[in-house]
Symmetry: D2
Subunit: 299 residues, 4 copies
Amino acid sequence: MKLGLIGLGKMGYNLAENILEHGHSVVAFDVNPEPAQALAAQGAVPASSIEELVRKLDAPRIVWVMVPAGQIVDSVIDSLTTLLQPGDIVIEGGNSHYKESIARSAKLQESGIHLLDVGTSGGTEGAREGGCFMIGGSRTVFDQLEPLFKDISVDKGYLYAGEAGSGHFLKMVHNGIEYGMMQSIAEGFEVLSKSHYNFNYEEVARVWANGSVIRSWLMDLTERAFSKDPKLDSIQGVMQSSGEGRWTVETALDLQASAPVIAMSLFMRYRSLDSDTFHGKVVAALRNEFGGHAVVANK
Amino acid sequence: MKLGLIGLGKMGYNLAENILEHGHSVVAFDVNPEPAQALAAQGAVPASSIEELVRKLDAPRIVWVMVPAGQIVDSVIDSLTTLLQPGDIVIEGGNSHYKESIARSAKLQESGIHLLDVGTSGGTEGAREGGCFMIGGSRTVFDQLEPLFKDISVDKGYLYAGEAGSGHFLKMVHNGIEYGMMQSIAEGFEVLSKSHYNFNYEEVARVWANGSVIRSWLMDLTERAFSKDPKLDSIQGVMQSSGEGRWTVETALDLQASAPVIAMSLFMRYRSLDSDTFHGKVVAALRNEFGGHAVVANK
Amino acid sequence: MKLGLIGLGKMGYNLAENILEHGHSVVAFDVNPEPAQALAAQGAVPASSIEELVRKLDAPRIVWVMVPAGQIVDSVIDSLTTLLQPGDIVIEGGNSHYKESIARSAKLQESGIHLLDVGTSGGTEGAREGGCFMIGGSRTVFDQLEPLFKDISVDKGYLYAGEAGSGHFLKMVHNGIEYGMMQSIAEGFEVLSKSHYNFNYEEVARVWANGSVIRSWLMDLTERAFSKDPKLDSIQGVMQSSGEGRWTVETALDLQASAPVIAMSLFMRYRSLDSDTFHGKVVAALRNEFGGHAVVANK
Amino acid sequence: MKLGLIGLGKMGYNLAENILEHGHSVVAFDVNPEPAQALAAQGAVPASSIEELVRKLDAPRIVWVMVPAGQIVDSVIDSLTTLLQPGDIVIEGGNSHYKESIARSAKLQESGIHLLDVGTSGGTEGAREGGCFMIGGSRTVFDQLEPLFKDISVDKGYLYAGEAGSGHFLKMVHNGIEYGMMQSIAEGFEVLSKSHYNFNYEEVARVWANGSVIRSWLMDLTERAFSKDPKLDSIQGVMQSSGEGRWTVETALDLQASAPVIAMSLFMRYRSLDSDTFHGKVVAALRNEFGGHAVVANK
């Protein structure tokens, strides 16, 4: 199969190598010309613009857009809308909100262009070695591209999820689950760290990663992290988030679905961004007011 | 009525003044002799030991024990057990666990001594001006002492709760509710503090304290706290806890009762005691492992 | 002061009586003509349309809009936009989202019309007897109307909160706190209901409402509810919600503010809407898979 | 190696087969004689009493106790205390509380008997095919038995965790993490089930189990569960719990460690045991009191 690939960052570059390795042809473009050049050495055709990329493809064209999310995706898709023709296919593989994907699909459909919204998981390793793809859009279009998805996934690691937006919906919920799993593991180690035992965290993660009920890739990665820094002394417990956990909670609110654990995982991330909190001050001040309990003065 | 009062700290001293003001006689003792001397000026009879205190009472003796909780209570009650006689009454007004109160009641009963377990709320102001008393133990004994409780409470502010331990059980749950209410108010101000509006917190607390659905003594105290320090700049958000919230959560676990909000209020207090967390480090390290997301280095 | 009042439902009708009682003039309109007729008996001037209502006011006109929220508010304000003149004032007292209020204020400003967004608390009793009003918009306009707000509030029960939207922002957060407080109280009674004691809930609510740290209007109402139905046997524990708690959680997400207790209060409400849950089935099925633990069959 | 095995239930029986298959000798006893007979056909030596089992072992004797937890463990260990001799070893592989293991270890030590407390994970499949073992107690004793643990574990699936109790401590925290992970996965499917998409849950679990960040044994089991019952229509969402999640939360309370997600997972389990809740009734009644909001009548 021959396809264009726009966006050669951490995910896109690895994906390009993965696709090439499976014998497909790739026309590659990124605003930064270097990764396309590097891929050329592996057989990719570099393009210096989206126009050139489209020109180098044959109808029906397949263009995989692998740029982060939000306005950048819109800008690339706007360009493609003017360059592509009816029957062409856009694969949108970023971390887009599913409602955006529904809207983009409808808009492209007006020009006769198909959109597949593809949620991608497995990290950069997955993009390179075989990842996990959740795919929404037209089943006919999916059927056409299935051999490609099969090649670049781990075994059984791709799914036609349903109509437009369903791929990104699944990815969003996947990330919500990920937040909850990570917080669960982390709370376990929090309890260990405050116990009177002197656990070796790397060894604990290893035994839990092998044969236990909680064995998981995240536990493998926990082991790996502790192997590099046994007590994580070098880093702070600041937990950033990139938006999908929040979308999951917002969607749960929309659907009146109870998702307390995913929500709490997110709030603990927010809490970690503040070195002190206003709510803590209010509670401390109240305890002082009614019970004369001592407060901790600010320095 | 004439009674002994052991423990003249913040709560006990105010309670003694309250009792005296209502025309009752008080024999007062504390390990620190000063408060008993001060109360003598208001008509109390000071005692320099528990033995002396008991000696100065007439059978059936009434002894109110107003010492914190735990071992000190046990030690005082052990002394009383050897000094009191069948038919005498001990009022235990500290923050004791209800299971301890059940055990102490049973043990005193072996010597024919009655125990009323009394949960006290309203802070030091309540102890002085009229508080809230939740009373467990024998109803007959309660009936005998009701005039006293009526005098020292605000109107309708005392309750015979039921058999032994029920007074402290109610006080424990009261504190659990208090944790939840305080955290609720505090989260509201947390949201205000991060908004783009420039709210005057004292004024906000005042309007919420007057006529709103959430008007409450805690909101009055919130207003008072902000009147002293408009943004609470002088204090840290460190939320200590004295044990009753934790007992409520443990009791909820015992009873398989869902109490997520009270539990979460407690966990946020614990969280506030740590300037950084190990669970945060684990999550940050995991994000770095699978997605290459940046971590915040420790200084 | 003379003002128009649009919307004579539970809140609007009581408010009209409150305003009239304080000597102000009210031109009253509702799509249902009956309440305006009833108010006429108390001195109000009934109007049979928004046009008539506006016609019966003198410039600068003051029109209080007291209709629920959302599209109805928009529809009424759209009508007013065409009927009012520069310098006139609209008071919007519904449960509107603060972002809507910001947008409406800006739009009305284009026609020279002022908007005050007014969050109202205290329930129907408050609307009648003296409520709590949080007011956003121009301070000059507020100063002009302050005598009115003063008359219809309980003492200190009104606040100029700040620029456009701040009134409804405060009301939203107020409701978030309300959710948390209600859930806190409710969890306390949940624990009581599962204990081995045989508490009289009405009496417990009464003692907690008098002199305790958690005394509050909500505790007064808890006592009142139990006085009508001692164990609430007649109702189901289905907890509806009208949107403001959800907005508070969404706003906390927007602002990266940790509000775990308010969020959890909301999720417990959602949980209560389902007689059984899919997440529960998944957990039960998983326990069966790995441990052979029995599941409860569906009937 | 030759060892006695007491308790041939789901876990013990599978463990016995696992041990036998690796060439060790097993003297097997259960109060129910059938499993020991069945194991005899595979080379085990059946015993009809604990006395006989001990008699058939050579000093230093090794006895693996694989009975549930609590009083049954105590009763078996009490019997062994009178039958074993100094230098003998007891392996306690049930789901015991780590504090009990510390106490039992100390008590056995008085008789010169060693105790290893062994947390076991991996379910019945793990017990049979190779499980995960977390081992506390004397390192010297562990070193002596390491070949056995190596044989019956999956690769890297055993760990010497530290002094007495550390094995069961790790197992307890493992289960706490398990609760959180299960609830996280379950909430994800809850959100899916309320969306407008018509997901095939088995396929979703499969794609998430292959190549994604959240791939895990629990996700494999989720796929398996849906393969048997596509929408879990046959079961109710009643989530039982066996105690270790609760112990984890209690330990977090002891250690003042914040574990909100594990706690919330547990409370959602408790919530699922009730078809209706008292806290829901209280909230519904309060909404009715202050806002006139309709309640749902009980049938």
